[in-house]
């Protein structure tokens, strides 16, 4: 998963007051099941019970630190003095959205780990025909054994996907990630392909909802095929053609 797929968008403040920010699927799944940082769950007993004379809460910093802002009342302390003992966070790769969330050292933030060698791909525009060809390869492989109705349904949705792409209705992240998906399909990495489809439908539901279920079904049916069927002469032939629609 690319770094650009780990993002945070602001919530919908028009429809919901104090709507929380929206995390991309990638960020969500990385956070779940990962090790948690030290939770914020400490409390402070009230001074009346511990014997200190008067409640000046938050006064645990040492007495040498002044309670009023330092020298220049108009500006915060500059870096050279009073630098707090916090490690400087690792600078994050560019994150979309309005909230700047710095990636900090502890493990749960996947941002650093997932910028792999495929990052060069994110700069180039994927080719629609390549993607469609691979999808049709999988569909052709399914035709002999999977019900005709199902295949036609899938084909219909793949066509819709292609049309939307060609008429510029799909955003770059969707196009790029679909390219990634078909690469995984080609390499028979079914789980990886499935995960990309899930990430896409969660993050971009309004762009993909009409046709993504066809891709989902295609992955499900293709993974169940006898592996021999993936490379019959007709199927391999379809990999070479650059034609789009492939109906029976």
């Amino acid at each position: 998963m690319e770094a650009e797929d780990l993002y945070i968008k602001p919530g919908n403040q028009e429809r919901g007051w104090n709507d929380p920010p929206q995390f991309s699927y990638g960020l969500q799944t990385a956070a779940q099941g990962g090790p948690k940082r030290t939770p914020l769950n400490k409390r402070v007993p009230p001074p009346q019970l511990t014997g200190s004379p008067c409640p000046v809460p938050g006064a645990f910093p040492s007495l040498t630190v002044p309670m009023t802002p330092p020298t220049n009342p108009l500006a915060p302390p500059p870096c050279s003095m009073n630098t707090p003992p916090r490690p400087c966070p690792v600078a994050a790769p560019p994150l979309g959205g309005m909230m700047m969330m710095a990636a900090t050292p502890p493990p749960p933030f996947p941002v650093v780990e997932h910028t792999d060698s495929a990052s060069s791909q994110s700069e180039s525009e994927p080719d629609v025909d390549d993607v469609v060809t691979l999808l049709n390869w999988a569909l052709t492989a399914c035709r002999p054994t999977v019900k005709k109705q199902v295949c036609n349904d899938v084909a219909k949705r793949l066509k819709l996907f292609e049309d939307m792409w060609k008429s510029g209705k799909l955003s770059l992240p969707v196009r790029r990630r679909m390219n990634g998906l078909v690469q995984e399909l080609k390499s028979c990495n079914w789980d990886a392909a499935d995960e990309i489809h899930r990430a896409l439908i969660v993050d971009h539901v309004n762009e993909v909802s009409q046709w993504m279920v066809g891709v989902k079904r295609l992955i499900a049916e293709t993974r169940n095929l006898n592996p021999d069927l993936l490379h019959t002469p007709e199927v391999d032939q379809s990999l070479d053609t650059s034609s789009t629609a492939n109906s029976d």
């Binding site: 709507d19 007993p45 019970l49 938050g58 645990f60 910093p61 915060p76 909230m99 969330m101 969660v202």
Partner: protein, 766 residues
């Protein structure tokens, strides 16, 4: 004592249990004098990444009214291959498969580190999980579109072999037939006519064998998936269902000016429950109801369709002016009980600007363990992400939901079970461990929890029944065993067994040891749940008085003081946080209902009585952390004195996350210092609370609201109303000190509360 803290934490980590007392008073009389009952919080399916399940059946005690599970507390004679049940002392032979055991070759269930152990068992053919969507179509266009998209998305998140169904409702109720081919059909029901379960099944064609073989293909004999056209495997119907969802229209019945849409929620739910009853009784199933407004017609209606008649408020309820309340509540309670009997849970996802009737419908989720999510609109991040998290997965890639849970509790004979408070129903199982004093859901030692997550937590209350001056039982320890049977999300049937023990202590001679074993956090939560349980049936002020009385008694028992001298009063460390918890509990939305609508109150209470200890405490007394240049982030008193100009505060109330920038910080931020390189440390300071907030936002269910505010901001009220008003317009100038921000309120402050408490505790007149 530091060692008790570690002991408590280790036990929670391993067994998911936190007891109010970790040394138990050995007589009933002494137990009542301790004020807080011997009780615990128990998380049946606590996440245990390090606990692999074993693939065999648990070994049970052979005594008919015992049947406790073999556990590390049992005495074992390895040579004779016999074990003695630690609950009833019956001697049992080991089954033949255990012939090879010895003290150097122990089975896992006898090892102390496996006080909690999980068994995978075979109980009939695996049954699929079922998700039945019940969708309100009386929504605004934007909301309906957002909801449709979320539902389409969810088809990709469901477990792949799950069965899925769709019922839509508005003025009428439509049950959609999900077929793989051809024209989609649906069965339409009037939204006003109540039907029995049998009638519903007949009308849907489910009661005779004509229903099977409908598709014209041969039917597998034991395959329930084929027999029901309304609940089909998602991997078969996903494309059709996606289209069907995409084509859903708003309810076509026009809504005249000044009227509400006619919403037949009651009938829709009754059909859902009846459909599942008839086709998949005793299988894990989830009814997921999505609604954008209150039920306005048919049984279970909460308000009429005239907009000029508002939905009931607390004022209406106290004046006995809520026409539909009793009848609607009764209707939904009956539905909830039917669902619970079958192991089916009901979720409510309610998104609207006004109330939707959660007060009446809450039992549907509370009795079955289903979720309640409450939002302003389906087109919000709060709803979308909360809904996504229903399908979240754990470290193993498995879903965090479990179904059809039953919990059975066994105790050693000096202890009896008074009851449980949490998202469960009684199974009315009689047995020797039942106390006559019922607390919460009592009169039983077995409960049903139809839907569970790794954080679902029950509060269990016990009674010590040993007579005063009876000798301390042999072996000196009391034991409790929790046996939870459930259906895992991968459809396996599992049994998790947790067996715990604590030492008995004579309260006369060992009161200080008992005191140091007090878990003030667990005690605060079990007492709070008791308070909330009472508040549902008693008057509010009575509950507060009861809570106060318990607190005063506890302080009288354990405080160190000179009689009639309040200034001498001290509490030991193991109790020092407890009064503060009670102070905040009294002010919390769980007991102070008038600041919130009846629906909001139901929502807050729903989450309160099922969360684990850490989250429950956050709800009682929000966490407040202070960020500044003076040092690392630190917890600070939830007090107005913590609000300082050069601090950023992060407050977590569980339902809201508030980041508050002090006056000076806000000015610096506005001036843009964080953009300048020489003030990079200020940029880091601004980001630090956001980082911590992000972790909470990414993990919590349900998603909290997020408030970024500053001194003088209108949203600052969320912080100001929670902090104890130690300085009000009444006493500002008598303090003589100008730290902190004054709060304009007449609430009692923590100082005043503590002063009163100390006065009452030390008084010889009490």
């Amino acid at each position: 004592m530091a060692t008790y803290q570690e002991f408590i934490q280790q036990n929670e980590d391993r067994d998911g249990v936190r007891f109010s007392w970790n040394l138990w008073p050995s007589s009933r009389l002494e137990a009542t004098r301790l004020v807080v009952p011997v009780s615990c919080l128990f998380t049946p399916l606590k996440e245990r990444p390090d606990l692999p399940p074993v693939q065999y059946e648990p070994v049970l005690c052979s005594r008919a009214n015992c049947k406790a599970v073999l556990n590390p507390l049992c005495q074992v004679d390895y040579r004779a291959k016999i074990w003695a049940c630690n609950f009833c002392f019956q001697r049992n032979p080991f089954p033949p498969s255990y012939a090879g055991i010895s003290d150097v070759n122990q089975p896992a269930e006898l090892m102390p580190q496996f006080s909690t152990i999980e068994y995978v068992v075979q109980r009939g053919p695996p049954t699929p999980l079922i998700f039945l969507y019940v969708v309100d179509t009386c929504l605004e266009e934007e909301d309906l579109q957002a909801l449709k998209e979320s539902l389409q998305m969810s088809l990709s998140l469901l477990p792949p072999n799950a069965l899925v169904g769709l019922i839509t409702f508005g003025r009428m109720v439509q049950v959609h037939e999900l077929s793989c081919e051809g024209i989609s059909k649906s069965y339409v029901f009037r939204g006003t006519k109540e039907l029995s379960s049998k009638q519903i099944q007949e009308m849907l064609g489910l009661t005779n064998s004509a229903a099977s073989g409908h598709q014209g293909r041969p039917m597998a004999p034991q395959d329930p998936a084929v027999t029901c056209r309304f609940l089909q495997p998602v991997h078969k119907v996903d494309m059709n269902l996606t289209d069907l969802l995409g084509e859903l229209q708003r309810d076509p019945w026009p809504v005249p000016q000044g009227k509400r849409p006619l919403r037949s929620t009651g009938i829709a739910l009754s059909i859902a429950v009846g459909l599942l009853e008839g086709t998949f009784p005793n299988t894990g199933a989830r009814v997921m109801m999505f609604t954008g407004g209150p039920p306005t017609q048919g049984p279970g209606m909460v308000v009429g369709d005239e907009l000029k008649t508002p939905i009931r408020s607390w004022h209406d309820i106290t004046k006995d002016n809520a026409r539909h309340l009793k009848k609607a509540t009764k209707y939904y309670e009956a539905l909830a009980n039917r669902a619970a009997v079958n192991g089916h849970s009901i979720d409510i996802y309610a998104c609207a600007l006004d109330q939707t009737g959660l007060l009446e419908m809450k039992c549907l989720s509370n009795l079955t363990g289903g979720h309640i999510a409450m939002g302003d609109s389906f087109n919000t991040s709060l709803f979308k992400q909360t809904f996504q998290r229903v399908f979240s997965k754990d470290y193993n890639g498995e879903f965090c939901m479990a179904f059809g849970g039953t919990l059975e509790v066994k105790t050693s004979r000096e202890l009896k079970v008074s009851g449980a408070i949490g998202p469960c129903v009684s199974l009315n199982a009689k047995g020797p461990c039942i106390s006559e004093n019922e607390v919460g859901v009592g009169g039983t030692t077995q409960w049903k929890i139809c839907s569970l997550s790794p954080s679902t937590t029950l509060a269990m209350y016990f009674e010590v029944v040993n007579q005063h001056n009876a000798p301390i039982p042999q072996g000196g320890r009391g034991a409790v065993q929790f046996v939870t049977q459930y259906q895992h999300s991968n459809t396996q049937k599992r049994i998790r067994v947790t067996t715990v023990a604590r030492n008995w202590a004579d309260a006369q001679s060992q009161i200080q040891h008992i005191e140091s074993s007090f878990d003030q956090e667990a005690s605060a939560v079990v007492m709070a749940r008791l308070g909330v349980f009472r508040a549902e049936s008693e008057e509010g002020p009575d509950v507060l008085r009861w809570l106060d009385r318990q607190l005063i008694r506890l302080c009288q028992k354990f405080g160190q003081f000179n009689k009639d001298d309040p200034t001498s009063f001290k509490l030991s460390e193991s109790l020092s946080l407890y009064p503060q918890f009670m102070f905040h509990l009294r002010r919390s939305p769980f007991l102070q209902v008038f600041n919130n609508s009846p629906d909001e109150c139901s929502y807050y209470r729903h989450h309160f009585v099922r969360q684990d200890l850490t989250q429950s405490l956050i709800m009682i007394q929000p966490i407040l952390y202070s960020y500044s240049f003076h040092g690392p982030p630190e917890p600070v008193l939830l007090d107005s004195g913590s609000i300082l100009p050069d601090r950023i505060l992060l407050m977590d109330t569980f339902f809201q996350l508030v980041i508050y920038h002090g006056e000076t910080i806000a000015q610096w931020r506005k001036a843009g210092y964080q953009e300048q390189p020489e003030y990079e440390n200020f940029k880091h300071l601004l980001i630090a609370p956001l980082d911590d907030a992000q972790e909470i936002l990414q993990n919590r269910f349900p998603m909290p609201r997020y408030i970024d505010t500053e001194h003088g901001g209108s949203q600052a009220r969320f912080l100001l109303s929670k902090v104890n008003p130690s300085q009000t317009h009444n006493n500002l100038y008598s303090w003589g000190q100008e730290t902190g921000a004054p709060i304009l309120t007449d609430d009692v402050s923590l100082q005043v509360f503590m002063d009163h408490l100390k006065k009452l505790a030390v008084s010889s007149a009490a």
